[in-house]
Structures are given as structure tokens and as C-alpha cells.
């Protein structure tokens, strides 16, 4: 096992465990903070796979913006700070959800393990560097990129229109 592989395994285990905790925690704030841990260690996973700019974007957008939005929404909806039993559905639905989650995980893992076999990959140096990714983004992908900016603007206007107080 090489050093990079050990690093990858550590980040991956942390991400999977934190993801599992973020959907099972009985404290709302703990769930959001475990999501921070999961997304942050996923940035580490991307780093070990050679995608450094994607790792930085993950940290900036997900940990910096999305989780802050989630925390704000939790505060604005007056979510209970202490442990609460009203966050989860009943035990029957939870068992069904666990079954569905296990089925999805088993199906994905089964197909992917058959597909990849015992192949290994060694990320090339500078593969995800800013100049290569910037060139790819603004030379080959510039039209989807601009479309995405329009999508972001539309979602911003939509969020504003939805959250406007109509009683005033």
C-alpha cells in the first residue's frame, strides 16, 4: 500500500462515516456539522485523486456556502437544538429506508466492483492544475459554463421571488 493509497483510505473512511452520521444524528446541528466533515474529507479524496482545483471548489462552495445556507435554514425554521425524536420518521419507515439505502449501495458497489476489477490508477502530476482545468473550461466547455451562470441567476431570482413576504 502506497502512502497516497493510505491517505485516500483514511479520507474515504472519514467521509463515509461522517455521511452516515449526518443522516442518522438526532441533533439537527450535529447533522449539519457532520455534513461539513463528510464534504471536507471528500475534498481530501479529490486531492489524492489528483483533482486539486475541484477539491478547492468543493471546500469553497460546499463547506463555505452550502453548509452555511443549511445552518441558516435550520435556525430560521426554529429547529430544536437539543436531541429530538421528531426529526426521523417512524420505525417502520426507517427500516424501509435502511433497506432501500442498503439496496442502492449494494447495487452500485456490485456493478462498480465488477466494472473496475482490480485495476489501479495513478493520477498524473499536474492533471488537475489550474491552467489545464481553466483551459479545458474556457476553451471546450465555455457554452455549458455560460448556461450554468444563467441557471444560477435563475435560481437566485427564483429564491428571491419565493421568499418575498407577500403580506406587505
Amino acid at each position: 500500500m502506497s502512502g497516497v493509497e493510505i491517505l485516500f483510505a483514511g479520507f474515504a473512511l472519514l467521509a463515509a462515516a461522517a455521511g452516515l452520521l449526518s443522516v442518522t444524528s438526532r441533533h439537527v446541528v450535529h447533522a449539519a456539522l457532520w455534513l461539513v466533515v463528510a464534504l471536507g474529507s471528500l475534498a481530501g479524496v479529490y486531492l489524492t485523486l489528483g483533482a486539486e482545483i475541484v477539491a478547492i471548489v468543493q471546500l469553497l462552495v460546499y463547506v463555505g456556502a452550502v453548509v452555511v445556507l443549511v445552518l441558516f435554514a435550520l435556525m430560521l425554521t426554529r429547529a430544536p437544538i437539543e436531541a429530538s425524536a421528531t426529526l426521523d420518521a417512524g420505525p417502520g419507515q426507517r427500516a424501509g429506508a435502511a433497506l432501500a439505502g442498503l439496496a442502492v449501495a449494494a447495487l452500485l458497489a456490485g456493478t462498480l466492483l465488477v466494472a473496475v476489477g482490480d485495476r489501479t490508477v495513478s493520477p498524473a502530476a499536474g492533471q488537475g492544475s489550474a491552467d489545464r482545468l481553466g483551459l479545458a473550461l474556457f476553451a471546450g466547455w465555455v457554452l455549458p459554463f455560460e448556461l450554468l451562470s444563467v441557471l444560477l441567476l435563475a435560481s437566485l431570482i427564483g429564491a428571491l421571488a419565493l421568499s418575498r413576504d407577500r403580506r406587505r
Partner: protein, 147 residues
């Protein structure tokens, strides 16, 4: 050198946790956390694909051979990951606005409390437009639209 089994199992675990979160949670904000985990499972696979040489798995040399094949100059895996992150940001902004609207109208973010369209609720009718006993305010207005 990383075995591809690792990213595959990680993506499967994240997707399973995300599906569980989507189905088992009642609080609307926590349901969205499950959706984020699902999107991140897809991102892990995309970043892993970007580490493969151009041509994907089939172009990968058998393990043990230490040649470095060239990767796709357009870096589709990483660019798609950035696109997915952007779409996730747009989605969560809009979804949280909907949750806030729900909370302002009903005073709760509990998804099981909002069952007006469910068959078991008191306000449910087979023929929308006809007033029901529990919904007197909306009834006459909706009735007026139907000739």
C-alpha cells in the same frame, strides 16, 4: 497508485446514506442533506473517472505496467464535477427558499405535517374544484372558476 475499488465503495456508501436520509428524515432541511450526499456520490465517481486515461477503463493498462497514458485534454470528469457542484448550489438555494416559505405558511418544517394532497387527509377530494367541509375558504373561489 490507488485501487479503483476504493472510490467505487465510497460512492456506493455515500449513495446508500443519501437514499436513507431522503427517505427516513421528516425535517425538510435534513432531507436536503441526504440529497447533497447523493450528489457527492456522483461527484466521487466523476473525479475518479477524470483520473483514468483518455478512453476510460478499457484504455487502462493492466496493473503492474507502469506507463503513464495521456489523459483527455478536456478533463471531462473534473469539469463535470464543477458543474455538478454549481447545480447543487443552485438547487439548495432554491430548495431552502421553498422550506422557508413552508415554515412561514405553516409554522413547521415537518414534511409529515403537510398532507393536504394525501388521500388520507381531511381536505382531500377526488374532484378538485368542489368545496369540502374542511376547506370552506378556498371552496367558493375555486367553484367560481368552474362553469
Amino acid at each position: 497508485m490507488i485501487h479503483l475499488i476504493g472510490p467505487a465503495v465510497l460512492a456506493a456508501a455515500l449513495a446508500g446514506a443519501g437514499v436513507y436520509g431522503l427517505l427516513a428524515r421528516r425535517n425538510a432541511v435534513l432531507v436536503l442533506i441526504g440529497a447533497e450526499l447523493l450528489l457527492n456520490a456522483a461527484n466521487v465517481l466523476l473525479v475518479t473517472a477524470s483520473a483514468l486515461p483518455a478512453g476510460g477503463l478499457a484504455a487502462l493498462p493492466p496493473s503492474g505496467v507502469l506507463i503513464q497514458p495521456s489523459s483527455d485534454p478536456l478533463l471531462p470528469g473534473q469539469v463535470m464535477t464543477i458543474f455538478v457542484i454549481t447545480i447543487a448550489a443552485a438547487e439548495i438555494g432554491l430548495a431552502l427558499a421553498v422550506v422557508l416559505l413552508l415554515f412561514r405558511q405553516r409554522g413547521t418544517a415537518d414534511l409529515t405535517a403537510v398532507r393536504e394532497l394525501g388521500e388520507g387527509s381531511a381536505g382531500y377530494t377526488e374532484t378538485p374544484g368542489t368545496p369540502t367541509a374542511s376547506d370552506p375558504a378556498a371552496g367558493p373561489a375555486r367553484q367560481a372558476e368552474v362553469p
